[in-house]
């Protein structure tokens, strides 16, 4: 079966006064239809910029400097802008973290959901509205016909996130990228939204890229997981394998630092220091200054990805 999405060697950089910032560096990713891939990392690790690169929505002064993003075999980076517009929101859709700032406050939600349908599918106003009602009820919004006339501020955070998901799904995309879809929500609502995404994925067979820093969500929802650090993927594996047998010292550090993995009151394991300056020239392993197992060679050799088991890739010189 052909992969739904195949990213190879993707690099995205920002030209800044202090130098060039490597936001995404040599990222390889594959996603099969119906699969959930989790992209995990801390702020600034490049996970959101990877998503923006797939959508070709990298904000200036950033630009994609190399790589290819094959979506059903077609390289998105080679598409002319007008064809890309037909992919965006239609075949690949995004759900953003903060529904309050990603919805337009001066249009009704009915208007915003119907926009995609009229634009991409050329539906009439009436038909688009009916479809919008259907989408709203699909995502579990009560009395959807009445809600069409509401403005975003009239809805609660959970309802707004449902609207965002309805908007993303209106054109039945083949791929949905959800960037921290539940971070702004309370846990009880988070559980509802994640159930919803899983159910819709089963019904429509779409692929899902789930960007999050919550390892619990990853463990529950993702088939495969890629851990990012300083713009690079440092480890990727089937989720069970990754949690059961983490190999990269950063992955191990993240898992060990969770309060869930410690006794109450016990000291938590920490990863010393903080993320390096991505404007500095890349020599050696970007994690070496925080790494508990690094050796001299890590300062001079940049580790490549190597296969440590079936489907388990890791970027570390110290892992045999």
């Amino acid at each position: 079966m052909a992969a739904l999405l195949e990213i190879t060697g993707l690099s995205t950089r920002f030209k800044l006064p202090g130098g060039e910032l490597r936001a995404v560096e040599g990222v390889d990713l594959t996603l099969e239809p119906g699969e959930t891939l989790a992209l995990v990392g801390e702020s600034g690790c490049g996970k959101s910029m990877t998503a923006a690169s797939i959508m070709r929505l990298v904000p200036p002064p950033g630009r994609i400097v190399s790589g290819s993003i094959r979506f059903k075999g077609e390289d998105l980076l080679q598409l002319p802008e007008d064809q890309m517009r037909n992919v965006r929101g239609n075949r690949i859709a995004m759900v953003f973290q903060d529904p309050m700032t990603s919805l337009n406050p001066v249009f009704t939600i009915g208007n915003q959901i119907a926009e995609g349908l009229r634009l991409h599918r050329g539906l009439s106003k009436k038909l688009a509205e009916d479809e919008a009602v259907e989408m709203l009820s699909l995502v579990g919004i009560p009395a959807p016909r009445e809600r069409l006339k509401d403005y975003p501020h009239q809805l609660s955070g959970g309802m707004r996130q449902r609207v965002m998901i309805a908007m993303a799904l209106t054109c039945r995309p083949e791929l949905v990228i959800a960037d921290e879809p539940t971070t702004a929500l309370d846990v009880t609502i988070q559980a509802q939204i994640l159930e919803l995404l899983d159910r819709l994925k089963e019904e429509t067979g779409m692929g899902l890229i789930l960007i999050t820093h919550n390892l619990g969500i990853v463990a529950e929802r993702a088939h495969r997981t890629a851990i990012m650090y300083a713009g690079e993927i440092v480890e990727s594996a089937p989720t069970d394998e990754l949690f059961g047998n983490p190999l990269h010292p950063y992955t191990r550090g993240l898992l060990a630092s969770l309060p869930e993995n410690a006794q109450p009151g016990e000291r938590l394991a920490t990863i010393a220091g903080s993320v390096p300056d991505l404007k500095m020239a890349l020599a050696g392993c970007p994690f070496r200054e925080r790494c508990p197992i690094c050796e001299e060679v890590c300062a001079t050799h940049h580790p490549g990805m190597k296969e440590a088991g079936p489907g388990h890739l890791v970027r570390c010189l110290m892992v045999p």
Binding site: Q190, A191, N214, G216, P259, E260
Partner: protein, 326 residues
Amino acid sequence: MKPLLNAQNLVKQFPVQAGPFEPRRILTAVAGIDLELYPGETLGLAGESGCGKSTVARLLTGLMPASSGSISFDGRELGSLDAPGLVRFRKEVQMIFQDPFSSLNPRMRVEEIIGEPLAIHGIGTPAERRDRVATLATRVGLSPDHLKRFPHEFSGGQRQRIGIARALAVSPRLIIADEPVSALDLSIQAQIINLLQDLKAELDLGFLFITHDLSVLRHLSDRVAIMYLGRIVETGSREAVLDRFLHPYTEVLLSAIPRIDGAKEHRVIARGELPSPLAPPSGCPFHTRCPYAQPVCASEPPPLEEKEPGHAAACHFSKDIYRSKR
């Protein structure tokens, strides 16, 4: 032992008006809660957004007057304090805030930020203050050359360290921390949790820790109180509340946490969303979302009563629901 902080029947109401011609309505953010905190103890207060936990923090620090009820600190009633007494109270109760970006003045250097409470309370000579600031900075893990810098030069974790040093400057006896780690990245969160843990052990402080993250709550608290719609629905020791919960809301909150082991079978999902505190449900506030609600729950508000020694819950059916489950 006498409680360090004792709040009885605390109520806070806000008048709200949606527009100039709309009727004035009353929003009850805190609907009659009792809290006791003993020296050296950490009380964790948890609940979802809008449950009133941050309002409780503001009431207890005296940043906002309560509509009714009483707060006493070290045996003295807050309302009866004269001006010097209030100044002393403000020295002894300090706060750590959630957002390390908006809670530090961007125009002040780190040494001024940490030293400001000392200056305000007139503690020590300028030279002594400088020494104290340097000691505090080292204690929270900042280096001396950080002191001349401005907040924007620091990462979130470092800024939270500055906020903690500022709270400790005047040697408070009670620290109220409102979501101190929820704005931080995972690996940084663990560093700050460890720091708070160390300080707690070292300084014998009373600690009121407010959070929505139950795994952090479990890690840091001795006693736990769970809030829902302005009320405490369950309270007791950490083990009692988090391992042998007696309120369906606690069960729902705990089971909603995505687990590292990927097990989803435990999940008990609450229906719907938090009702508006402007129009709270009749009877038990949780009955509209409760998976076990009975007709009586819609009419009779359950009192917060002790179900086992030191463990109280506000639910008519605690015993029936949880006896069979355990």
